[in-house]
């Protein structure tokens, strides 16, 4: 047992650090740090650079085109990306549907979808939640009825229903959906996992505007959407197996340790510029300093819990229900980072900048740039204890699956 990086790990760190420095697109520099809203092309720009290098999918096995990194190397990669403020890679293809396809898909499905997913030619979105199926996901109602089209003699599903909270669906080329294929089975047993081209007639995407004014999530309406049967992953009525597999993967990436570290670093920077009531820097304020210290300690506990989980995974255990711990603590830390940033911003947490000129105009500035998105970020990050299985659900999972209660 030791905490040191091996010489190989240190060499790896130097290599990825140099790569990021040399290849991170200039157009994106600083965007993550400023909390600027990103366009589809921004996400794809970095995705494509990494795909060309073979690093876009660190967790995939080499047999599926992954880089074959150890858990330590993946940890280092996350740290270096956060330290350089790179933008994130959209998780829907790489972390979610990709592993489902290479685990449960046919050779034809893997060939059809994985290369395009890796190189960024398919932007995926996730069709899980429905208005009546949130925490209780298995109660979903979107139905898919099988029929043969007399025009071509082929089998299709006719899909009808509504999905919601669909992140970035406005950009998506494809959606992976849980649909009910057997209305008479027990609720978890009649579900199938379907891939649907977003250009199929009958799909309507409507924006949902969230608290900070963002358009991140959408409603996706499906009306008589015709989906070829070969777009179903795994067996009919066995989609819940794929869903559970995917949720466990989603949770394991959700701790966000490296990003939270960077967030705390930003707070420390802010607090050396901002002054307290006595004219000393805010970081010298004992109450504020104490909160930063507590947050760092909680983050350290989370980090070492994640490292233990990663080590167990690389020893051959897949992500288990323990990953719920990472989801709960990870999101709590992320939320506290934004709380503390808003607190540090003081009066300048109040101005609202959406749709407002901030750069390039010659008007007088409204407070320091670092304060601009502190309140919207605080509001926005409340979602993290709700999505991906609310933290209440995660505690239920731990109670049942880990503690046996």
């Amino acid at each position: 047992m030791n905490l040191d990086f091996s010489p190989e790990d240190l060499a790896f760190r130097d290599e990825v650090r140099a790569f990021i420095a040399a290849h991170y697109p200039d157009s994106l520099r600083g965007k993550q740090d400023e909390g600027e809203e990103l366009a589809k092309e921004d996400f794809l720009a970095w995705h494509r650079v990494l795909a060309a290098k073979g690093w876009v999918n660190p967790a995939w096995p080499t047999s599926e085109g992954g880089p074959g990194w150890t858990s330590t190397q993946r940890y280092i990669w996350g740290e270096e990306c956060a330290a350089a403020d790179t933008i994130g890679i959209m998780p829907f293809g790489i972390n979610m549907v990709g592993p489902v396809i290479y685990t449960f898909g046919t050779p034809e499905q893997k060939q059809r979808f994985l290369p395009d997913t890796l190189n960024g030619d398919i932007w995926w979105c996730q069709g899980y939640s429905e208005p009546g199926a949130g925490s209780d996901l298995a109660s979903l109602k979107t139905k898919a009825e099988r029929f043969t089209d007399p025009a071509d003699g082929k089998e299709y599903y006719l899909v009808n229903g509504q999905k919601t909270w669909t992140t970035m669906a406005q950009y998506a080329d494809w959606i992976f959906c849980l649909v009910r294929t057997d209305p008479n089975a027990k609720i978890q047993e009649g579900i199938s996992f379907l891939l649907i081209n977003m250009k199929t007639p009958g799909i309507t995407v409507r924006p949902i505007i969230t608290l900070g004014g963002e358009h991140e999530v959408n409603e996706v309406w499906l009306e008589n959407v015709k989906v070829p049967v070969e777009n179903r992953i795994y067996d009919e009525n066995k989609g819940w197996t794929c869903a559970k597999f995917l949720l466990a993967h989603e949770r394991s990436g959700i701790a966000g340790v490296a990003r939270s570290k960077r967030g705390i670093e930003r707070i420390r920077q802010m607090a050396t510029t901002e002054l307290g009531d006595d004219g000393q820097t805010l970081l010298q304020d004992p109450a504020f300093k104490r909160k930063v210290a507590e947050l760092e300690i909680d983050l350290t506990a989370l980090e070492y819990t994640e490292l233990r989980t990663l080590a167990a995974e690389s020893a051959g255990k897949g992500p288990g229900p323990e990953s719920s711990v990472l989801k709960i603590k990870g999101t709590e830390v992320q939320q506290r980072v934004t709380e503390l940033a808003l607190e540090a911003a003081g009066h300048y947490g109040a101005p609202y900048f959406r749709g407002f000129p901030t750069d390039g105009d010659n008007m007088r500035p409204i407070g320091p740039d670092y304060a601009h998105r502190t309140a919207p970020s605080y509001f926005n990050v409340r979602k993290t204890s709700i999505y991906g299985g609310s933290n209440e659900i995660q505690r239920n999972i731990i109670a049942k699956m880990v503690l046996g209660l």
């Binding site: 919601t164 002054l275 009531d277 006595d278 607190e343 947490g349 101005p351 609202y352």
Partner: protein, 381 residues
């Protein structure tokens, strides 16, 4: 001991509540927030003329309804329930508060203007460097002939875009954070040399950065005693804090109500989510927070006329309670609403945003804990 409201006070609450019920729906407010001006000047006129509430906390000699801080509490609690944008706090509580205690020769006329809805004031006190220290002022007012010349930059002046006048804190002497040398001025916003940059705030209000560039103001712009304004500022700010505590209570009460209602109708796992004990306990804790906050708001409001020491201690204690409760109740309300709580479409998120701003307004929890510690522990030692 009596926690009952008088008949007049109950009537004030009912009149305002029923006006807001009829005219201040969530959709109406949303339209105001998105409009070019950001508020309803016609509602302000209605507050003055139809409801007469702008005179609520002023004595009858001043043309008011003969009320006090309790009336401000009642009005602000109702404002909190409807998320009222119009500047009762900046104008009646703060502008009116300064004038009421100033002994200014024209105080009666100016208060008459406030009651009538013609004078609207915004409080230009915060500065970019000063955080919550009311004496941390770089803005200066230099004697010039019979009047003064103002120079400086005031940060996030709430309601300034709608104001006819600004209440400005400035140094007529002393060093940057010194208690003495602070003065208060009532400045016509149309004065030459005032430059503003207006913007919306995250909780649906409007504010400005205000720059004074050699602004000449007359001698009678001075409110109170030159160089000895800080005690008056502290008194009025304490009254303003008590008022936003009441507003916070109103907003929290609505978040709690909305959450109970949502939890009762939202079904998951074949039952209303209100049946889950983990959520029941959270909703009970929300309730306890609202009740404790109301108690502290009463306590602080009833102690506003005590000695400066006792008043400040009471107000800071209340602000600590309200700041913490706004955070707890707001976060719990969003969490229990799930994804719906994250949407711009539901009112609950807008209450949460206002409650979040109340947390920091006129001093964070840390600021008021420190002030309380100083008044309660350090000064007793």
């Amino acid at each position: 001991m009596d926690f009952n409201f008088t008949e007049e006070q109950s009537m004030l609450r009912d009149t305002l509540a029923s006006f807001l019920q009829d005219k201040y729906s969530f959709d109406t407010r949303r339209a105001s927030v998105k409009s070019a001006s950001g508020w309803r000047a016609d509602y302000w006129k209605a507050f003055a003329e139809e409801l007469g509430i702008l005179g609520a906390p002023f004595s009858e000699e001043l043309g008011g309804l003969g009320g006090s801080a309790i009336e401000n509490m009642i009005v602000m609690e109702e404002c909190g329930k409807a998320l009222v944008i119009e500047p009762y706090l900046g104008t009646v509580v703060i502008g009116g508060g300064f004038l009421k205690y100033s002994g200014h020769a024209s105080a009666t006329d100016l208060i008459g203007g406030i009651i009538g809805g013609e004078i609207i004031t915004a409080f230009a006190y915060a500065e970019p460097q000063g955080r919550y220290n009311l004496a941390d002022l770089k803005t200066t007012a230099k004697k010039d002939g019979s009047g003064y010349v103002l120079n400086g930059h005031k940060a996030v002046v709430l309601g300034a875009p709608w104001a006819t006048h600004l209440v400005v804190t400035a140094r007529t002497g002393g060093s940057q954070r010194e208690a003495s040398g602070v003065s208060v001025f009532l400045v016509d916003k149309a004065s030459a040399g005032i430059v503003t940059r207006d913007y919306p705030t995250v909780d649906g209000q409007r504010a400005s950065e205000v720059y004074f560039e050699n602004v000449s103001i007359p001698a009678d712009a001075l409110i109170g005693v030159e160089g000895a304004g800080l005690p008056l500022i502290e008194k009025v700010v304490d009254e303003a804090i008590a008022a936003i505590c009441a507003e916070g209570v109103g907003a929290m009460r609505k978040m709690h109500e909305n959450t109970l209602e949502y939890a009762r109708q939202r079904k998951q796992f074949g039952t209303a989510i209100a049946n889950f004990q983990v959520l029941q306990h959270r909703m009970v804790d929300m309730f306890i927070n609202v009740e404790q906050s109301l108690s502290m708001t009463y306590m602080a409001t009833l102690k506003l006329d005590e000695s400066a020491h006792d008043r400040a201690k009471a107000v800071s204690a209340a602000k600590v309670q309200i700041g913490r409760s706004c955070k707890f109740v707001g976060q719990a309300a969003i969490q229990i609403h799930g994804g719906m709580g994250m949407t711009d479409e539901l009112a609950v998120g807008h209450y949460f945003k206002r409650a979040t701003m109340i947390e920091g307004q006129f001093g964070s929890v840390d600021h008021h804990l420190r002030r309380y510690e100083h008044l309660s522990i350090d000064s007793a030692a």
